[in-house]
Symmetry: C2
Amino acid sequence: MAIYVLRLGHRISRDKRISTHCGLVARAFGARGIFYSGEKDTSLEKSINSAVREWGGHFEIKHVNNWKRFIKDFRGQKIHLTMYGLPVQKTIPKIRKPRKDILVIVGGEKVPGEVYQLADFNVSVTSQPHSEVAALAIFLHEYFQGMELTRKFNNTKRKVIPQERGKKVIQP
Amino acid sequence: MAIYVLRLGHRISRDKRISTHCGLVARAFGARGIFYSGEKDTSLEKSINSAVREWGGHFEIKHVNNWKRFIKDFRGQKIHLTMYGLPVQKTIPKIRKPRKDILVIVGGEKVPGEVYQLADFNVSVTSQPHSEVAALAIFLHEYFQGMELTRKFNNTKRKVIPQERGKKVIQP
């Protein structure tokens, strides 16, 4: 059982940082990889890959040309995060039951209407406008029931030792 | 008892969208306002204020010139979100006990060392690099124990009626 994220409609000039945050959140909160459609962005891929090299774990980032085909072909449950969907706190138990792979779809400004149809669940994290980064984090946090917060990452070059004040980083 | 957010070191060119997401998350997840230091950005303020006008609730955004003075003068608990701090799942019970106002401090790339000293708690949401937007959302979600997900906003011009597919927005 693995979770992947699909970030729709990436635009280099506008979305670089938000998409990077989506990728880093996906990794830190236990997803196996992020796919993105829109403009191919080697700098985005480098940022994510370098975080994986430094901080460990198995995580991949890949560009997809045809998002529609990609969603259709994905074997598993397709979850679209949108402020217009059904509340996460009500849908999570249904999503957690079938032990299938999951694709979490996060959009940008304008999500094509088809995405709502292709998804098995349209899920909202509050019905307020906020952030795909936050929605993704809360969805994964609820899915893993907080267990992702203590997740270990192997093959790491750096590891933080939590401190009351200041920074402590070791090289394990 | 109210929660406020302080976003450190905003730079218009680089941080506009991330700071906007921080502001929208602060509002959607139950904070009363966001303060920000760094460059004053009227376009950031407009984005947040227009979301408040459309979607309701009481929420303010204000620029602060002297973040150090601001943190020192804040009456209440000062929480600094950082991947180097103590785990959120362990610190939240201690933070929740004294029913005082809370200032949640989120940094950008480089946070001055003094922030770690001025904070009552340095708190991490995982010890992995990810996103201040996600860290803020998870902190507020844990603080409010998920109750923020069903929060009602008054004085709203628009309201989403959650749907299985598509969008339904009413004007209450």
